[in-house]
């Protein structure tokens, strides 16, 4: 966690007084704690392209995990106002331009996000992609990246399969395939919040399986 403190230091002056600054003021979680004693915010985002240089953020969904349980009362889903046309990707996430036009700007959604993310560990399935888009919005708004601790369930699962010496076929690390390995039920995907909920369930399953009955620390999940 000292890494975050160090990197945040660089941006301290730039973000002073912003929502990002307030978010950073919350204490960073202790990596030695049992995973159940840590608060998580499981997040998923939809974008118009997988390439951060020409795509833009379309929607964000998140749900909180407290004391080892998903709290459905914390589930939120926000659309992000499109700057360009959604184009071809509408077929995938069924978001239409007319809906996106009335939505909030990326900066407003990010501010809400930072409010609830304070003091929590972020969880994504394939964090690099979502974080790239979130960081871009953050840089535009605050001139600084988000800089919060992140768990990536995809990387966790990949490392686990490698440790077990299992060959990894294309598609094995997709959210559906990972959930199947833990006997989680099928779900309807392709909505940021539904994917976030599905990822949260996967997080619980992974931690429960790796932790067994003993204590399993946050550090082992990061």
């Amino acid at each position: 966690m000292w890494m975050f403190r160090l990197r945040r230091l660089r941006y301290r002056r730039r973000v002073a007084g912003t929502a990002l600054h307030r978010c950073w003021q919350a204490p960073l979680p202790n990596t030695g704690k049992d995973w159940r004693q840590v608060s998580y915010l499981v997040v998923d985002a939809e974008m118009s392209s997988l390439d951060v240089s020409d795509g833009e953020l379309l929607s964000v969904g998140w749900v909180g995990v407290e004391a080892g349980a998903i709290r459905l009362d914390s589930a939120r889903h926000y659309l992000v106002k499109a700057e360009n046309s959604v184009g071809q990707s509408a077929a995938i996430h069924s978001l239409r331009d007319c809906e996106l036009v009335e939505a909030d700007t990326g900066a407003v959604v990010l501010e809400r996000f930072l409010q609830v993310a304070a003091g929590k560990v972020l969880v994504f399935h394939n964090a690099a992609l979502d974080m790239a888009f979130l960081n871009r919005v953050s840089r535009q708004a605050f001139n600084a990246p988000v800089l919060l601790p992140v768990i990536d369930t995809l990387l966790q699962e990949e490392a686990l399969l490698r440790r077990r010496g299992q060959p990894i076929k294309p598609g094995d690390l997709r959210l559906h395939a990972c959930r199947e390995r833990y006997n989680l039920p099928p779900y309807q995907g392709h909505n940021a919040l539904q994917d976030a909920l599905a990822t949260a369930e996967l997080l619980l399953a992974m931690a429960a399986h790796r932790g067994g009955r003993q204590s399993f620390t946050l550090g082992q999940l990061l």
Partner: protein, 633 residues
């Protein structure tokens, strides 16, 4: 969490329909709507509680009990949970869509424990919210205060009596007393004992109990010292034996008998000799144990006695199932019991008719032969007589068959509606006639004949000469294995009943409709499997009769893949398990035992598994169609 609310897109036109603040939670609400008793809740109320839910994941082996911190109703979203009481007796198995409240169960039943038996995703409805729903909604409340707990109580009522040792000894004593006079000769007394098949006799002087004479007394005090046959009973009996009062407990009796090494103890009722208790009576007091039930049957002296024991079988089955016995074991035991009843009836008939004039064999057909019987089975049997039989000896077999078939009917194994019984002349013949019959069936099979005789190809010797049964079976396998026309006829019969996959599809579409589809688990589930496996066994000259053993032999001789065979075994066991569970429910409710279930009544998981089982049958039928009916449609 902050209290801002999500911006809703696709803003709803003014609509009276309740809406969830977060539409992405609709799948959760839909899941609950399909689960009892949430289906009772008006949608508006349901929607108010959806976001109060906590989602938790538990690995196999995780336990919930009184010590579990978070109180509330736990709804199984996926996986499975088992509920057992403090004696570790299984009360319930829960699958998808079913729920439990550990605190509520504890309040009602004492120390109840729930264990995750398949990795489970659980929805936890916190206690205050759960209580709110119960208070505000009668239908919802009734489910928890009424039906649910009744079901658990019913299960509890059939708990095996834990304090059997505290019951009065009169409940296990034998009242069928053999008395001799002290002045009788020892030889005479021994003859009577042998005749009655007892190991002890009371020695009376007038009305007074003067002593007891046991096998041991005979050995030690009569045979060993080589006394003359006319010795008086008085001289070798154990005089003035210790007695016990009938109101004493079985425990006290056992203690007395072990301390003094008694094997027999006279029991006094109101100061007079009323019965005797032996060490084996005490062992048999553990009546819920199937082994002893079988032994008990073999000790009965009349049909009434057998009937009395068999009538308790239904309740015993509920106990066995509650204590976690698997379907296969249950049917094995039920078959062992019907074997024991048959053998005992044959013994009683022989006592009446004298010994058989020539070697013979009593055959069991169908489920009895396969050791796959359940409750309510009718009788299917026959007799093979050795070819040396003379015409004037045949009436002995007719009398025996009538006695045994009538006895079976009286004991609840009702007459076979198709008359496949030893009392029908057609099914009571010398070996050569049986063989001729088999050849005729096999060479000119009609669809009707194939259906009628298929049951007969599962046969097992229940009593008498095993050799006769083996010779007949050998004929059957030789005749049928190479005969593709006969096999095709059997295949047509096996394919006659298609598994009812449609019922599930309709079920999904018409969840709340009023359709009343009942499913005959035996006809639609069990018979297609046994028929296909029998066909393959006959075609490949496999002499095993039990379906499981047939499948193992088919795999061993490489006529079937391990996967296919395991699938069929699993499907059969699962369907039998459902049948047994269903029958236990009917017994507990005091209903007539049937094989008809309404899929609507099954928990979600069982429904899914049943559909899997039927899909396996469907696949296996396709394979049979290709192999044995190619080009015949």
């Amino acid at each position: 969490m902050s209290d801002d609310s999500g911006t809703q897109v696709a803003a709803a036109p003014e609509s009276p329909l309740p809406r969830l603040a977060v539409p992405e939670l609709v799948p959760v609400a839909e899941f609950l709507e399909q689960s009892l008793p949430f289906n009772e809740l008006p949608r508006a109320e349901l929607y108010q509680v959806v976001d109060k839910i906590l989602v938790q994941y538990h690995c196999r082996g995780d336990v919930f009990n009184r010590g579990t911190m978070e109180a509330g109703l736990r709804i199984v979203r996926s996986g499975a949970v088992e509920i057992r009481d403090s004696d570790n007796k299984l009360l319930d198995r829960l699958g998808e869509g079913e729920s439990f409240h550990i605190g509520g169960l504890n309040a009602e039943r004492g120390e109840v424990q729930a264990t995750v038996i398949e990795d489970a995703l659980l929805y936890l409805l916190p206690d205050p919210v759960y209580r709110g729903l119960r208070e505000g909604n009668r239908g919802f409340d009734r489910y928890f205060s009424g039906q649910r707990s009744r079901r658990l109580r019913r299960a509890a009522r059939y708990q095996p009596e834990p304090n059997i040792m505290m019951q009065e000894v009169r409940t296990v004593m034998s009242t069928d007393l053999l008395t001799v006079q002290s002045t009788d000769s020892v030889q005479r007394a021994a003859q009577v004992m042998a005749q009655r098949r007892v190991s002890s006799a009371f020695v009376m002087e007038g009305d007074r109990l003067a002593g007891i004479m046991t096998d041991r007394d005979l050995r030690v005090r009569f045979v060993a010292p080589a006394l003359p046959p006319e010795t008086r009973v008085r001289e070798i009996m154990t005089p003035d034996p210790e007695t016990i009062d009938a109101s004493q407990s079985i425990f006290a009796t056992t203690l007395l008998m072990t301390q003094r090494s008694y094997h027999h103890l006279p029991v006094m009722v109101d100061g007079e000799l009323g019965g005797i208790v032996t060490t084996s009576d005490l062992i048999l007091a553990k009546q819920d144990d199937p082994v002893y039930l079988v032994q008990h049957i073999s000790r009965q002296h009349d049909i009434e006695g057998i009937k009395g024991l068999v009538s308790g079988m239904a309740n015993l089955m509920v106990q066995w199932v509650n204590s976690g016995m698997r379907a296969q074991q249950v049917s094995q035991i039920l078959t062992a019991i019907s074997d024991a009843v048959t053998v005992r009836l044959i013994g009683l008939a022989e006592e009446k008719l004298g010994p058989a004039p020539v070697p013979w064999c009593w055959l069991g057909f169908g489920s009895q032969a396969r050791a796959e019987q359940l409750l309510g089975a009718d009788q299917d049997n026959g007799i093979i007589i050795d070819d040396s039989v003379e015409p004037e000896q045949l009436p002995w077999f007719e009398s025996l068959a009538n006695f045994v078939c009538d006895g079976l009917n009286e004991c609840g194994y009702v007459y076979c509606p198709g008359d496949i019984m030893a009392r029908t002349p057609e099914w009571r013949q010398p070996l050569s006639a049986w063989r001729q019959k088999v050849r005729r069936w096999v060479t000119t099979p009609t669809p009707d004949a194939a259906m009628r005789v298929s049951i007969f190809f599962d046969l097992r010797s229940i009593h008498g000469s095993v050799g006769l049964c083996q010779q007949l079976q050998e004929t059957m396998l030789t005749q049928s294995s190479g005969n593709s026309i006969f096999l095709a006829a059997l295949a047509a019969n096996a394919l006659d009943t298609r598994p009812p996959l449609g019922i599930f599809r309709r079920f999904v579409l018409d969840r709340d409709g009023e359709h009343r589809d009942y499913l005959d688990l035996k006809k639609r589930g069990v018979l297609p499997i046994t028929e296909m496996v029998r066909l393959r066994a006959l075609a490949n000259r496999i002499s095993a009769v039990n379906t499981d053993e047939r499948l193992r032999a088919l795999v061993h001789e490489k006529h079937m893949t391990i996967v296919d065979s395991r699938n069929l075994v699993d499907a059969l066991n699962f369907i039998q398990h459902q049948r047994i569970n269903h029958q236990c429910g009917q017994i507990v409710r005091g209903e007539k035992v049937t094989n008809f279930i309404n899929p609507k009544d099954l928990p979600k998981m069982a429904k899914e598994q049943l559909r899997d089982a039927f899909t396996i049958i469907d696949d296996a039928q396709s394979a049979v169609r290709q192999t044995y009916r190619a080009g015949m449609g």
